[in-house]
Symmetry: C2
Subunit: 680 residues, 2 copies
Amino acid sequence: MSDATQDTGPDLDALRAAHPEHWRRAACIRTLTLDAVAAANSGHSGMPMGMADVATVLWSKHMRFDASRPNWPDRDRFVLSQGHGSMLLYSILHLTGFPEMTLQQLKDFRQLGSITAGHPEYGHAPGIEITTGPLGQGLASAVGMAIAEEIQRARFGRKIVDHHTWVIAGDGCLMEGVSHEAIALAGKLELSKLIVLFDDNGITIDGKVSLADITDQQQRFLAAGWDVLEVDGHDPDAIDAAMTEAKKGSKPTMIACKTHIALGSSAQDTAKGHGALTDPDLVAATKRAYGWEHGPFDIPADLKAEWEEIGRRGADARAEWEARLDALGSGKRAEFDRQLAGEAPKRLSATIKALKRQTSEGQPKTATRKSSEMVLEVVNPIMAETIGGSADLTGSNNTLTEGMGIFSPETRDGRYIHYGIREHGMAAALNGMALHGGARAYGGTFFCFTDYARPAMRLSALMGLPVTYVMTHDSIGLGEDGPTHQPVEHLAMCRATPNTNVFRPCDTVETAEAWELALTSERTPSILSLTRQGLPTLRKEHTNKNLVAQGAYILAEATGKRMVILMATGSEVAIAMEAREKLEADGIGTRVVSMPCWELFEAQEERYRKKVLPAGPVRVAVEAGARLGWDRWLVGERGKRDKGAFVGMNDFGASAPYPELYKHFGITADAVAKAAREML
Amino acid sequence: MSDATQDTGPDLDALRAAHPEHWRRAACIRTLTLDAVAAANSGHSGMPMGMADVATVLWSKHMRFDASRPNWPDRDRFVLSQGHGSMLLYSILHLTGFPEMTLQQLKDFRQLGSITAGHPEYGHAPGIEITTGPLGQGLASAVGMAIAEEIQRARFGRKIVDHHTWVIAGDGCLMEGVSHEAIALAGKLELSKLIVLFDDNGITIDGKVSLADITDQQQRFLAAGWDVLEVDGHDPDAIDAAMTEAKKGSKPTMIACKTHIALGSSAQDTAKGHGALTDPDLVAATKRAYGWEHGPFDIPADLKAEWEEIGRRGADARAEWEARLDALGSGKRAEFDRQLAGEAPKRLSATIKALKRQTSEGQPKTATRKSSEMVLEVVNPIMAETIGGSADLTGSNNTLTEGMGIFSPETRDGRYIHYGIREHGMAAALNGMALHGGARAYGGTFFCFTDYARPAMRLSALMGLPVTYVMTHDSIGLGEDGPTHQPVEHLAMCRATPNTNVFRPCDTVETAEAWELALTSERTPSILSLTRQGLPTLRKEHTNKNLVAQGAYILAEATGKRMVILMATGSEVAIAMEAREKLEADGIGTRVVSMPCWELFEAQEERYRKKVLPAGPVRVAVEAGARLGWDRWLVGERGKRDKGAFVGMNDFGASAPYPELYKHFGITADAVAKAAREML
């Protein structure tokens, strides 16, 4: 660890004299950062100022990219895991000539409607490969990118897929727990094309890193199976040599770059330097120290031309790659394009329908985690792009199907990943695979451990990545493992998250429909909430139509006058059906509405929603989870007046065989029927 | 890492011959485990079978405890981080004679109403120091226990506080990211009385550890600043020597115990051995291999007597300790007792009232994160038991007040902890401090990073620990940092969690009231959702009464006929007040209800709730978060019919100065007034 505040820092004049051309290029990044942060009066100056040398060498000499074709599939991926240093990325994208990243955008840093958000936001502009900011996420998703690259290479050959994933990560990223999961997974998988540039500046927001950490990061990476190098992060020759060395290795490589945060400013090597340096005198003095004589946002034309030349460095390689792709042969080429576009194969629909028909006819009693496996058994053989895995619960999540093969250093064509007990790292890796392209990734764990994966699951939603979370053991129905393993609030948590489809299917047919929607989703992650316990088949009449796509639908209609509507999801739909029988036996007309996906139901036209949930009948919702959110459906559309009751959990669960728990917590057909009767 | 399946495992006969007395004792744990798992037909047999030798040595020779006084404050703490191996703990508690842990309880393992849940549940019985099961949590909370022990010792002296924290952790615990945060924090803080016994058996659920991990755990702990030892986990002499050595060190110690999971059974060293071994033939054969000739749950009287003797080992030390405590002097003794009981000092109430009065008079515009600091500035000096900290956002969370001192290896009397960028580790440590006793712990981060801390925050609630989460920057009101840092779904997530008080105060007065409730809570964690941006004082008339304690209350009454009720929390209460003025100006009588804590409002009598939210007026809720949950309040009590509208977020946020964001997302007084008018 550097103890940078003890010395006065490097001699900038000497650095400039030693590498004048490099220095001027790097100064562009530093001064654009100072200018943009000053204009916004907000942001983080120190990191781009400290890492400008490393970034300049990377983009000038190593990054495989073509600014005019930012989405070239075989480009190197660049991940700024220290997302707060966003001006480093924006500066480079502007300088090298990425479309959309105009100078005006830099001037509009952190303003409404600009593409230059406080932290890089995926989708805002080409060249922003990933949303970062929550620390550690970039690093962990980069592992997924590197996995996808390996698998894609195994599939299409080195001539088509052969690129690196570069990560800049800081102390914060490396303190976050997810960094441990990520580097251990990368080490085990020998992801040699993953290179992490550690911004080893010894400073965090509270002060020196040593206030909170004495970890020997290099030793730590070695322990995880990585190669490790160390360089002076302001010496371009040393940086260049280390990057060259790193690319040769057979393991992932961490390069510890000893840098000075907020280099050259009076805030250098201090916590103040981490934040927004906006004082005009400080900015002016720092620019003088850089030998920079130009005004705010003023990049001399010759210097801009040099950077744009760098932006064209990869053009030939890109053109050669395109020629190789054209020579691939039409079948393989079409498959490459399809996988990259994320388009499901045409056969998927028929395959799902066949499974639905077979289930409706056979009517087996099945746990939906097993139903999910039945879907994967027919889907994985026809979708080569699926990459499955589990956080060490393969036999419980039912996520591995025959013939997938295990992805390992020896078997790069395997499509199943043993993530280890790393729910968070798994979720972040799924994001990375989706961002990389050519992969439709899913991963399994217990639904309760959504807790561990939350930060990355939120980013799936924010980035609009169609990954699938296979979350089994989704209620007290898991039984004896008890309250630590029994989700209660998790459905509410997932449903409250924007752009997230939460599926809680009631049987194999609904599970197949949910999977079909997940596998064809373009911009929304899917969470499958699946049972451990067996459930009866409730969709006994085959429909070609995907009913889950409507979010909620009438599963059983009332006989005679409709007096009650029972609403339920997943394992509780069977309870609602049983309650319906009791009520109907007493002449109380009862409709059962299955609501496997609230978000899709909310997205329907009001007319459909009113058809499914008309005003008039009393309503009872039953779900083995928290009530929060159900009141939305217990009353009618805004202003309509209906009576409603909820049967579910209002506390944590308990450890016991599951039928006893359902009784103990009062989630029974009798309780549902009673609640309905009380309102009539 | 052991590669245990390659050999046939240890020679049990030789082990037995070498240490017959030890062997028989350890066999009690092993056979009780086999019997209980068989009776439950569920559970995890392999871990207790593998770690029985280590546990036997620990409890026979090192653990400082007195089974007859299980809550002796100066006892060693034992944390079974591998919670699935719960039968190891239950067996020992039974054998050593802990009250309540009867043989019948072991026979009722994993049954409804028993204290022997699938995973250890804090509060079920003395001797269960912590709820574990979600992997890594026990280890991370043990760090908090060890911190609390150090601080308490600095406060009351070595004669009163001088005990160890022992942790058994497995591969799963060490793969989870939180383990990295925990061990790095412990290493930095030189928690020399923390000793981790790593169950190094090389097996996880999916198979060999090496399927997913090649981490050199010993090197990893060394990198984090720990001492590391390695022993044969079936050699009692070696285990004893290592424990003796570990207690002498000046750093935390990890002892890698090479063990065989499911020792002696046909499932030894396999993933199958991790789970429930219930086959009668396997059980019988394993008992034969142990040389065990007794029936199920049959512990010979002489052996039980030996174990009970162990249970009395600490009785003298405990009595001596009590004598020292009595000699402490009445003032210090009273303070020790008060802190341990978690009783707030009598002065707290008057202190909070004084701050409230001062605020109501001065009516400053203040961000509630700053309000929180104002509270801590008056509270910390009168509550020596508070232990504060932040996950590297001290200056943003406003969690450090003058005179607390920083807790470090050099300054053990410091009460503020620089947790580093480790939200998860911090939350788990808070739990550990609360469990240890003598500490009222709070920790700060951005509200959005609740995501990172979720698994531990859930355990705060499940265990009923009155810790306080200081969550600042609680909405789009944080501005330029953008959507990765802007909570949307987080209020819903926290509110859905049982036994959690979520406070979103609207000004300094409410913040003071919320803190008072948090600091006097006995069994419920508190989450303070606080703003970055300045807010006006809305409680302009002083009341001695704590209005937040009612959860929601009438902040401003309608003039004339009450036609509208506006409901809001936190920063949006000021918006509601502004909307009220607009509506009243048009003769529309409008009540404003501040709802700082839904949970406490829900706990009020129905009469009070109806008084605050009577039927009749239209209702508009405004909150800069997701709608999920608000429908509960938008309609009246069950069956009552009111019109309601919600003004808030329905997507992720954006990066811009916050006043622009409020306009952009339509969370304005105009929008609130418009929503009300539309319903009239």
